[in-house]
Amino acid sequence: MAAQETFFGHSLKVDKTRCLGCTTCMRSCPTGAIRIRGGKAVMNDNKCVDCGNCMKVCPHKAIYIQQDDFALIHNYEYRVCLVPTTFIGQFEEKFKTREIYACLKKLGFTHIYEVEHEVEYIVELYNKYIAKHPEIRTFISPYCPAVIRLIQVRFPSLVDNIIKVRAPFELAAHIMTNRLMDEGAKREDIGVFYVTPCAAKIAAVKYPVSNKETRINGVINMDFLFNKVQLMLRGSNNNAEAINHSLTSRDILWPLPGGEASLFNGSHYAVDGLQNVLNFLERLEDEAVDAQGLVEMRICDQGCVGGVLATNNRFVARKRLEDRAHLLDKPDRPLNRYTRYNNPDFCKWIDEQMEIDEITPHSIYKLDDNFAEAIKMAERMKKIEKALPGVNCSACGAPSCAALAEDIVRGDADISSCMFINRHTQASEDAIRDIWGDRIKTRTITNDNNE
């Protein structure tokens, strides 16, 4: 295989001691990023978009998300837990929000700040961006980082349709550090830790699309924190400490499908779920749908409560968030916005911090930089595909016969990997050993050997 430049980094990893090479993840990957090599799933960093689908479908819990060491928080005097409302949706209603936050404080955080405090301003940034770009008809929300990457690798013609605004957690981290600095804290003493419901948001923090500085010092997996808090809530002596929070009902609903769209006044669409997102982008690319306005897209079914690190059932979590939002739905609730939002200089500065300079396309399809060579390869690929059985058995270590054909012309696989071709040659036996290791033995069945 030719040495390739790596464009993306990822937090999704394969635990080789648990992986059996069962092909389940490989067949469900929306970008064909997984192959089986040496009997284990192997990910291609340039194709993976961190959607987390592989982790959701893995029957052996062999795919995991790397996270920062929790003890890192103690490197800072001010320890901010940046929590999305999705986290609250994981808990039964009998636990008050402030009880949950009290537990987070007991775990060592000094401040709790909800990401959704900033979503109203995010929508203002969307509106500013849309007003500046009258030439664009369809604006795709930049909220779900897996959608951004999916567009970069599979729908490169749509990169200019993405609103170039960074994520709400980045804005919340900026605002919270500024709030603490207003109160006299030193920048280097503040540590901001984001609680993530999915792999894509970790990747967005660690390997951002934007070159701008991040104010997030670490990422904590939601399931890890859920387990800790759940244990404490079940403990008998839980002295709840009141913490003010001033979210509106619409802020609380932000992570659910339609969350962005409901804060946006113009024409809008809300698409959630991997297959739905793929279909919509495909149709959008062909101009077979004419979507004018904002298209909110979440790669997880039911939005962020469907994230791979969300512990509870997505429909239950959705209902809980809706119930909590309903409780908060009081008409006279004041919007407790950060006061410096009233200062035009501050807004100018924060707007700049929130801009994404460029989203570059990284097509996973291109066969060769040289067009004539690419045509030759495409011709060959077509021929090989015809010669393959078309059953998509995945025994070759590729997700489909078409994928194997592509791997062959790229020089990443050999036709002898196909179990249906050249079954009785030394090359096929070697190939089976290369793909599956020693676990599966090649056998020749004859009339004398009826097992």
Binding site: P156, S157, E282, E285, D286, E287, A288, P361, S363, Y365, K366, L367, D368, D369, F371, A372, A374, I375, M377, A378, E379, M381, K382, E406
Partner: protein, 137 residues
């Protein structure tokens, strides 16, 4: 390289298979996204035209290193007045076709807008052949 696709009368549900397949190939070849879009939009429109108006037909696609040529040939009623058909908003589509969201009279004008060369040969009562070319450079 060469591709052939069949067109079945009235089968709107499967429309877009030819354009999807061509799109995949052009992505493999690394054709600029803007040119892929023009090609796919034109081919999809031509396919819909044939599905809506003709009795069946074929799509032949040839790709070389500078262009893609797409020939959509159908047997059908033909186009009696080509000048009218090229006007935006002119349509002879049936109410059934319009109900499905097609037949707004934008097909041929849209094809013209998205291709570098467009040739239409039509004989009333026999059929129509639409030849579309998009240059990559």
């Amino acid at each position: 390289m060469h591709y052939t696709f069949e067109i079945e009368r009235g089968n709107f549900t499967d429309a877009g298979q030819a354009s999807s397949s061509v799109k995949r190939t052009l992505k493999h070849l690394g054709v600029a996204p803007a040119n892929i879009k023009r090609t796919v939009v034109a081919l999809f429109e031509a396919e819909i035209n044939a599905i809506a108006h003709a009795y069946g037909g074929t799509i032949d696609v040839d790709i070389d290193d500078e262009k893609i040529v797409m020939v959509v040939a159908d047997t059908g009623p033909g186009i009696p007045n080509l000048d009218l058909a090229m006007q935006e908003g002119w349509s002879t589509a049936s109410p059934e076709v319009r109900e499905m969201g097609y037949g707004a009279g934008m097909g041929l004008p849209n094809i013209k807008k998205n291709t570098d060369d467009l040739k239409i040969e039509s004989t009333v009562g026999v059929g129509t052949t639409v030849t579309m070319t998009v240059f990559f450079a």
